[in-house]
């Protein structure tokens, strides 16, 4: 019999990533519905210091694997040590973040544990003690509900920014269990990391995104979007046309072959709204479109549309946001 729901938290640079708290909160909800315990699994070098935080989000127990050899994510080390903890924890359900590392780890673990995996899920439902997970398919043109075979281990990675987070309760303490894992030898290695230290918000985690398309006309014109993003506290994205033109790095591309984003507010500037672009941003809570062509398809998906030349409108809008921010 299963005894737990497990969540695998993602730790980097001295803290858990926000999605870890989202899955802990979701895990708590599932554990309560199924009458199971919630166990957190915290892995990384130095992770012991923050492990109690998972308790504040409802974990009953946190297994901590803290080892300098786990400083960087590597499936070859992470998958075996985490799989061993999971086997001991006897879970019915394992939740992971659908982050870049989380999805890789989830797939590798699923193969190791012979589990069924639903990646990048946006909703988890429980009826009659059975779990169902919903995931967007075909670039968001369909939503698929998945179910598990009887007795199969349920593994779900959860899209960041979608599942609601509990308010942390520092009064809630988890039992902390330090796991002494043997770290297997690896073949692949991390040679280096180039992290952006400018404090830029990552697109997949951003609350507000300002994206530019072919209508921006040149790389240097993105300065007006950067300026707007700065006053809004937003991240800057781009359409494939802007990336193909070399105006923006590929890491900014939003869409079917770019990033899937779920901000509260997506401002599409000089973007026509091609189906492949919508695939990446179509589930944003609010969409604003700025386009000089009143027939641009993006307007049929936008909550607020502005038919104007972006080079006139964006600076004016930035000024108005500044004014608004200074009065509140």
């Amino acid at each position: 019999m299963a005894e737990s729901v497990c969540i695998v938290a993602e730790y980097r640079d001295g803290n858990f990533r926000k999605v870890s708290f989202e899955i802990a909160s979701e895990g708590r909800r599932i554990a309560d519905a199924l009458g199971l315990k919630l166990y957190g699994i915290a892995v990384g070098s130095g992770v012991t210091a923050v492990a109690p935080k998972l308790g504040h989000y409802g974990a009953d127990k946190v297994f901590v694997i803290d080892n300098p050899a786990l400083e960087h994510y590597n499936a070859e080390t992470y998958a075996p040590v985490i799989a061993d903890v999971i086997k001991d924890a006897q879970p019915a359900v394992v939740l992971l973040p659908a982050s870049m590392n989380g999805k890789d780890l989830a797939a590798r673990l699923a193969a190791r544990l012979e589990a069924g995996l639903a990646q990048d899920s946006t909703e988890i439902a429980i009826s009659d003690g059975k779990i169902k997970a919903k995931r967007p398919l075909f670039g968001g043109k369909c939503l698929g509900w998945y179910e598990w075979a009887d007795g199969a281990l349920v593994m779900i990675s959860c899209r960041p920014n979608v599942m609601s987070c509990l308010t942390p309760d520092e009064g809630k303490q988890a039992e902390i269990v330090s796991v002494n894992a043997t770290i297997p030898a690896v073949k692949s290695q991390v040679l280096g990391a180039e992290m952006d230290t400018s404090g830029k918000v990552e697109l997949t985690e951003a609350d507000i995104i300002v994206s530019g398309g072919r209508g921006m006309k040149a790389a240097e014109n993105f300065a007006i979007l950067e300026e707007l993003a700065k006053v809004l506290g937003a991240a800057v994205g781009a359409s494939r046309a802007a990336v193909d033109a070399g105006w923006r790095p590929h890491s900014d591309q939003v869409g079917q072959t770019g990033k899937v984003v779920t901000p509260n507010l997506y401002i599409a500037v000089g973007i026509s709204g091609a189906i492949q672009h919508l695939a990446g941003m179509g589930s944003s809570k609010y969409i604003v479109a700025v386009n000089k062509d009143p027939d641009a398809p993006i307007f049929s998906k936008a909550d607020y549309g502005i038919v104007e030349d972006l080079f006139k409108f964006i600076p004016a809008f930035t000024e108005e946001v500044k004014k608004y921010k200074s009065t509140c």
Binding site: Q119, C142, W148, A193, D196, Q256
Partner: protein, 265 residues
């Protein structure tokens, strides 16, 4: 170098997707099929490896006969041969079942490197590469935005949230492609390429040819299954802010709406 590309055929990204009467599959008549864009990046990366190191590029795919067309496209781009696993026992397989099939096919080919897209734009399962690597007991370098190989080791750059990492691994290894069209810029099939592709070998295999039985990778082995498809909630066109406002007026109105109505700023 012996290079394998795992290729999936997907509906064209422009396709209108209709839910079939069973409520859990899509209508496939009238769809235009393409190579999954990320797998196309993998074909391009494989051809560049071959140009540098020599050797062969083998395309491995699973699915019905129509997939032959996508394999031929990859052959026309410059790949050398194809293997299609077409077995109705796989109709209801889950991702792990398919990964077992692909891993078995890879073993038969004994390559130095396996390349594939990090996800497919249809069902977006996001697990084929890492699962195949796990089943082979190989390292996996995910989401490659660049790839260098000296014949012994492979080095890639991969994005993580907020930056990128540089990873390396000795061969054999599975590398899954991230990046974008701008990064990989996959070549087109040339006309002579298309003519030549017709004569390149393409083998069709059944599970038994891979030494597998449906009990381990077919529908009955599936741990997870798709039970229902839904249409996403329709997004309706909202307000166009115009009226008789000038640019500043529209900007002010948008700020007001985002604050008062949407509550997002």
């Amino acid at each position: 170098m012996n290079i394998v590309v795992l290729l999936k055929q997907t509906p064209d990204t422009e396709s209108v997707i209709r839910i079939a009467d069973d409520g859990k599959s899509i209508v496939t008549t009238d769809l235009k099929w393409i190579i999954n864009p990320y797998d196309e990046f993998a074909v391009e990366a494989a051809l560049r490896l071959k140009e540098k190191h020599g050797g062969t590029v083998t395309i491995v795919s699973w699915g019905p006969q129509r997939v032959v067309e996508s394999i031929r496209t990859a052959l026309a781009m410059g790949a050398d041969k194809g293997v299609l696993i077409d077995d109705s026992a796989l109709d209801e397989s889950d991702s792990l079942g398919i990964a077992k099939v692909l891993a078995a096919a890879v073993k038969q080919l004994n390559p130095d490197i396996v390349l594939c897209g990090h996800r497919a734009v249809d069902y977006d399962h996001n697990q084929r590469g890492p699962m195949v690597a796990e089943l082979l007991g190989w390292p996996h370098l995910p989401l490659a935005l660049s790839m260098e190989c000296d014949g012994q080791t492979v080095k890639i750059e991969r994005p993580v949230e907020g930056g990128k990492m540089i990873l390396s691994s000795p061969l054999p290894v599975v590398v899954t492609m991230g990046g974008s069209h701008a990064v990989w810029n996959p070549r087109y099939a040339s006309l002579p390429g298309i003519m030549k592709a017709k004569k390149k070998p393409l083998e069709v295999k059944k599970l038994a040819d891979l030494g597998l039985s449906p009990d381990e990778c077919g529908g009955s082995a599936a741990k997870i299954r798709l039970v229902e498809l839904q249409r996403p909630p329709e997004r309706k066109a909202g307000k166009i802010i115009n009226g008789n406002l000038d640019t500043e007026g529209k900007a002010r109105e948008l700020v007001r709406l985002l604050h008062e109505e949407a509550g997002v700023i």
